[in-house]
Amino acid sequence: MLALIGTVPKEDFPLVSGTAVLKGGSLSLNGYQISVNRGTPALIAATSMVCETLGLPRPFSFLVGDIGLGDGSRKLYRHLKSHLPSLGARIIAFHYLQPDVDWHNRILWALEEQGNLPVLIADAGYMYAAKMSGFAASYDLFTPDIGELAFLADEVAPHPFYTRGFILHEEDNVPGLIKRAFEGGNAAKTLLIKGSKDYICTKERVLATVDTPRVETLEPIGGTGDTLTGMVAALTYGGYPVAEAAILAARANRLAGALANPTPATQVVDIVERIPKALEAVLDEAGKVREQIFPTTCCRELPYKRALIDTYAKGSC
């Protein structure tokens, strides 16, 4: 199971959980209609699109209303502590929640009590809490943008709002910020840094950069980072190793953006619609590369149908 966790920007929206259905630009969950704009609804929509394209079961979502007062988030934290560990999710993506270190720790420890941790992905407010907690390395993936990378690199900043100026000045030196984030113990095992050039890296090295197709107008569009995180989560669910999922998702997110021919005024729902076509193109290309490397039938099959992870690692079929 793939679990997605976050908030919707409505005060009176109750805590709901289940499998959301995407239809005509909005999500339907337990009888509630949620418009797909920015934030967690955009994450769920993108994840659902990828799961559908790959023939995977739809993600299981936890949602609550919160407009920044933190009340909904705390209700959800309480619920998660009791219900999340027994859910048996293989991958969990935490998203727009009021950052709260105490609740973050309680949930992490509750998951650890179950034995092996699932694949943990954190973005947005939950990533802030994970960094502040000192348990960043328990996570498999963080997906910061450049401003958030500077926050991860600043070992004393409690929120991006307090990132120190001399670190912000280093924003053009992304490898330097990456190094500083890892050295300070404030990075997940893998980072996907969203920017004009996307970086996928581990503590050891930058694994890949993705800068094509170049679509300058994606940065102002609210929700494009959310769709990217959702796509990585779904691809990981499909069997790709986290780093490989991040590379494919970065390509597909850019391509979906390019297909929408966006301006800075475009809304993310127009990009979400293009995800299946973009993903198919990216996976097709990735499959052809695999064919060249491993010209046998089993190796041409994609990980979500067959575990190619080991094949790659061992270099043989």
């Binding site: 933190g70 950052p99 407010g125 958030e148 990132t163 100026g165 569009i221 809304q267």
Partner: protein, 182 residues
């Protein structure tokens, strides 16, 4: 047959400080007491304590509060005429809010970023066309409230937002207004 039950040892946070807490300093103890009562009444978990040595303003007491909710708390205190002298993070009271802005000109559109928040307008109509970045739950809320509005008539993010992300958006909003000579 004896079964041995292994219980995982409870972990403690590697950072034993208070990374998500802030401090409010006031002119005098009377203001501290009033502010504490008000914040408790509204449901916040706050506590009164002695100030750290780095905090050089205010009286002998400060209030510790959830830092991320700074914007909402400040608004409440200002409405009740007990605005604090200073607001700082507990773990490093010398930290200041971001003061750097990044501006990107897209021709017809202009984007200003402050910390993790980006605000984009149509230069001709001065309409807010997008809000991106951020991670606190008021970001999607601010997007829903502000996108499509005229920059000259839109409520400032500080009136609608509640968190430090809302505060960062306020800074981007002020900077973009400055650049548009509004």
């Amino acid at each position: 047959m004896a079964f041995k039950v292994f219980k995982r040892k409870k972990r403690t946070a590697p950072k034993e400080k208070s990374p998500d807490r802030g401090l409010l300093s006031f002119h005098n103890t009377s203001e501290v007491i009033k502010a504490e009562s008000l914040l408790r009444e509204k449901g916040w978990e706050v506590r009164v304590m002695g100030p750290p040595p780095e905090l050089r303003t205010g009286c002998d007491l400060v209030i510790e509060f959830p830092l991320v909710e700074q914007l909402n708390i400040l608004r409440l205190l200002e409405e009740n005429k007990i605005a604090p002298l200073e607001v700082v993070p507990v773990d490093d009271p010398l930290l200041k809010p971001v003061g750097l802005f990044k501006t990107t000109d897209y021709g017809q559109y202009l984007m200003v970023r402050a910390a993790n928040m980006k605000l984009t307008i149509d230069k001709e109509s001065l309409r807010i066309v997008n809000i991106s970045g951020g991670g606190c739950p008021d970001v999607p809320y601010l997007g829903a409230k502000l996108v499509g509005k005229d920059l000259r008539q839109a409520s400032p993010p500080r009136e609608l937002g509640h968190t430090l992300c809302g505060y960062a958006l306020q800074l981007a909003y002020e900077e973009i207004k400055r650049q548009c000579s509004l």
